[in-house]
Symmetry: none
Subunit: 203 residues, 4 copies
């Protein structure tokens, strides 16, 4: 291998690594900023200011503010969904599935937003990938409940309720430092399985 080729390869490698590093830095900054200010209030300059890059550089990586927001949301949803799916396949009972799925979600939240000075403005149904997560949950519930599901039961309301528990308990968890995914999971699962009085009793 000629030294010219060698050098070119080394160069390409280095560049690729820099690009990846920059991309990650921008994504991380955007995650924080969106969490703190919300999509609209966050400006591209807010994002780029948290990196050591120049404003124009942002646009070498993302075509627009909207694109990075979508990328972030899609990315989160796409990392979450296979985990939920795996939990569904592994689960032998509603309880087991809830523990797996909610635990995974809370650990994900803690990792993703544990650093952020503030709470994310989660909109669970904005992008296709996010809608897919919602559908995944709804479908898993139907499947696992099976014939315990009365015909007149309103699956949309029930799934909304379960997701509501997970999201609000999750938010509450993020308010604490350090976040405690295990404890939060225990409460959320009990709430969903047995209701508030039972959960309050510590059952």
């Amino acid at each position: 291998m000629s030294s010219v080729t060698e050098r070119a390869l080394a160069e390409a490698g280095r560049r690729l690594r820099t690009k990846t590093r920059n991309r990650e830095a921008i994504l991380a900054a955007a995650r924080q900023v969106f969490a703190e200010l919300g999509y609209e209030a966050a400006s591209v300059r807010d994002i780029i200011r948290r990196t050591d890059l120049a404003s124009g550089t942002f646009y070498n990586y993302f075509r627009s503010k909207e694109e990075i927001a979508r990328a972030l949301a899609t990315d989160a949803a796409e990392r979450l969904r296979p985990v939920l799916r795996a939990e569904r396949e592994r689960a032998v009972s509603l309880e087991a599935w809830l523990e797996g799925a909610i635990g995974a979600y809370f650990r994900f939240l803690a990792e993703e937003y544990g650093q952020a000075a503030s709470l994310p403005q989660l909109r669970l149904d904005a992008t296709p990938a996010q809608r897919a997560v919602f559908a995944e949950v709804r479908e898993s519930l139907s499947l696992i409940l099976g014939d315990r599901l009365a015909p007149q039961a309103d699956m949309d309301y029930l799934a909304a309720g379960a997701i509501g528990i997970a999201r609000h308990v999750g938010e509450q968890m993020l308010r604490r430092a350090p976040p405690d995914p295990e404890g939060a999971t225990r409460v959320a699962v009990r709430l969903i399985l047995h209701g508030l009085p039972a959960a309050a009793r510590g059952a």
Copy 2:
């Protein structure tokens, strides 16, 4: 009473009524616009365009866009809180209180946002008045659960879970036309009282 004074009084009355009417018109328009577009995307011109007033007039009633948003949130919370408080005082059981409180909340949502073309971006903890609602709920729960509440129980998580159910089922309800506060209340109450499997069974 001289007729001069009389006339002045009449005049003052008329003015006051106009002021109140304008203020209400602006608040109503803002409620709609914020619900449809969210706080940031909504512009003062969007709001004022839905009234028959001029843009400058907005600032005779509210100091800024932020102030009207806060006023709206506070106003909603202040209308909701006494209702919740009344329900607490009247309630003879957890079930009765939940039915009263959630029913009131859902009817409130339906009235307030039933018209809006889109969902409100509620942030239940932004203003003092909103925080007060959260505290109200938390306290009511503590009170009503009484000694059924194990010492190690995490009241914040539990309240968050209950509120999560109410908010997400409420949002789901708003997606339907027409909204059905009674049905939604029934599901939410069952979920909170007995958990998902029981609610699914239609218990």
Copy 3:
């Protein structure tokens, strides 16, 4: 008429006059700037800087940079066309028509761009109104030439040639201070009617 109404009317009148004045000021500034720099190189700030208005004010009068450019072009074309049309109807001979039309065009140029420090970047075929002017000329020529027009004659080339003369002689005229529409018209008409040698002879 109550003094309230009176005052309101006076107010409305004053405002209307201010609006008209501002609009004219912006148009005049834009005319200059576009002439000096060309459409692309000219910035809205260049335009607004030549008025005593603030940058945002521009957008109270024109939706965009493109719109004002179109407005300017359309406006010029729409002032020119009826004049050309009138000349066509009045003309008893090709010579009379040319003198009328070219004279009108040159006087128009002198008025419109005589002040400008530099030459306009005229694009005679960009907007519909401009195309209409070109069509007007082409049609007038056909009509007036009548059966003196050989069947194989290429009207597009001929009209282009006549217009080329008018535009280049016109530009040349604008380079002189003060511009001399009469002299320029005389040369252009002779050139078109009899060709260069005859015009050179001063025929």
Copy 4:
């Protein structure tokens, strides 16, 4: 001659050829892009994207976008001028000179811009070389007209008229696919020599 020297020479030759090839490639791309988009709207990236070079490489060949535009204009003018000069020297009559010069100009246009999807924004007087072409034409006309030129004749207007014909008929020609330099030349020459009525008669 040592083989080291030989190899160095070969190397130098190869480099020179590469440099020339790259330069030509960039110029050709720029010619197209400027013709299609105009100077301002064209970006250096547009130009470089039509070559197989990298964006930074552009600046090894041209100091700036402005420089390449000037180079292009100068280059065109410098290729055109000797042809016009030769025609002047060869010409035995005004007609012969016009046929030679305009024919050369139209063939030049057809070659240079025939491919372009759109028309060039020619500004015949921007660069020194372009001004030289104008002067060349003006001078040739004076010379050839000789004493047929009345003392009071305005040579600037006359030259402008002739050039106007050539440019507009030339543009018209470029609008047709394929361009027809011979036909266009015939019309332009007749127009200049005898005027519009004669040209229309097909004389």
